[in-house]
Symmetry: C2
Subunit: 308 residues, 2 copies
């Protein structure tokens, strides 16, 4: 049977498609953006529909490659800042798309396993230590609210119609080809020749950094879930790394004499700590392979090797 | 300023429009179903758009009657059973419509107070005694899930954009012109001449019955909320009445020699008890005026006075 990736042209989606294809899966995808023949061959993607997640498009994928054995659902809004500027767009991309997908599954592929990428943003900013899946959820942005709403919708279809869903709340995913957020910004400034970097916050804010190459191994692993209709898992390593440490790793990997300072100005709604309790993953079992020092050094190498 | 009622052609909507008009408000409405000139005049409705809650339709209402001071948002799915048959339809009616409305408010009427009809179905079936607004939510149907998702969406727009929302979780609303559910079914069977009524369940299941004429007084009261961006309130009296008692009141009001029996067969997902902790309403203050004995006797009179 084939496997499908929604939002397959995004940062995680492209890594996931390539990983699944290398593992011998027949991979189909749907989402926004054109993927040309050359790119498709490079990724190992059997076919691609550039469009909305709608019943006609999903039926179209079945016509091309048969019913899916599993669907990796990565489609959705991908920026907290953008979700504040355009909340309805984020709602449609995250919630609307999921509603269409679940309804299609109910009619057309009830046995298919759904693996859904949610976000640690559902937890909000009030957790001081490692966050378990049972912790209270209090999102701080439309992005986080819509991810949580997406989870509720999955729960509803699991409860009422037996749709089998595994939800992974991903923490701070980084890795080659990520062209936004802290690492990208640091590299861009270093690339411009800046040698004194002023960053927001205190530097002590900590995150659970996970390399996308580990993340796609985790996602692929989750298609072989047990028979539980709904499972919610943290996608995090449990290891906190502060922004100051991250900046240190980047500047060390970059080389030369670079000073990093922090403004002390904290962005409203930005959690001080966002780190997973990784207990459930450990018993899966799943092992993270790429330590943050290696992964980030490799990110810097990737950045330097690109033509911008 | 005018006030608007979405879903204004529904059971509660029509009562609310008539009540607001009697109180001297200029009332506009939007929702599905035609309301002709005669009916509009009878209800006291200034104007009505028969259609989706969409930006063009909402702009159209502003053109006819100016910006709204408050919007009573009653549009949405209205049947648990129907939501199980057609979950996507229920999702669109409840969640899709609310997303459109909130986004329109953000652009076009940010100061407007929104009063939203949610449901006690968000609580689920696991509460043995009176349920406070802080109780855990665990809906048992797509209908309940979608109402809870609607609340989350309101919370998101309140948090991020300051939209002022009051959410009322309505318990068991009944009253003249309700043409479904227990009271209607009982009256229909009595009207057909049945004198031995077999009902599902044990008869001990209890609900918090509230007359729609009290409910619309409550909704109207809530348009004058304080400045809290988001408020969640139980719309219930706090008084439990069992199904056996309800059947007794109906049969007494109907007259004659009627026997009621219970099958003992409980419908899956049907809560044994669904009764509000009415503490927050009491301090509002708000007083329920119609005792269940009077309200239900009046329902029976209404039923008998109708030509079916």
């Amino acid at each position: 049977m084939s496997v499908w990736v929604t939002g397959g042209n995004g940062f995680i989606g492209r890594h996931l498609i390539a990983h699944l294809a290398r593992e011998g899966e027949r991979v189909y995808g749907i989402g926004h953006g054109a993927i040309d023949e050359t790119d498709r061959r490079k990724l190992g993607l059997s076919d691609w529909i550039n469009g909305e997640i709608s019943a006609p498009n999903l039926d179209g994928l079945v016509e091309r490659g048969g019913a899916p054995g599993a669907i990796f659902h990565l489609a959705g809004g991908s920026s907290v800042a953008r979700s504040i500027e355009q909340p309805y767009e984020d709602f449609s991309r995250t919630v609307g798309a999921t509603a269409s997908l679940l309804e299609w599954l109910r009619y057309s592929a009830r046995e298919c396993r759904l693996v859904v990428a949610s976000s640690a943003a559902v937890y909000g900013a009030h957790h001081a230590c490692a966050i378990s899946e049972q912790a209270s959820t209090q999102p701080m942005s439309p992005y986080g609210h819509h991810k949580l709403i997406m989870e509720h919708l999955c729960r509803s279809y699991a409860d009422s119609f037996g749709i089998r869903v595994t939800i992974v709340r991903l923490f701070s995913v980084y890795g080659p080809s990520l062209r936004k957020q802290l690492l990208w910004d640091l590299c861009v400034r270093l690339g411009q020749g800046q040698r004194e970097l002023m960053l927001g916050g205190t530097g002590n804010e900590s995150r659970d950094w996970i390399d996308v190459r580990d993340v796609v191994r985790l996602l692929a692993r989750l298609q072989h879930g047990d028979s539980t209709p709904l499972k919610v898992l943290n996608g995090g390593s449990g290891i906190p790394t502060s922004v100051a440490e991250i900046a240190q790793i980047v500047t060390n990997a970059w080389g030369g004499n670079i000073a990093v300072r922090f403004s002390g100005i904290v962005r409203a709604g930005d959690p001080f700590s966002l780190v997973a309790d990784a207990g459930q993953l450990a018993v899966l079992p799943f092992n993270w392979r790429i330590p943050v020092h290696d992964g980030i050094a490799q990110y810097v190498s990737w950045f330097k090797g690109q033509s911008h």
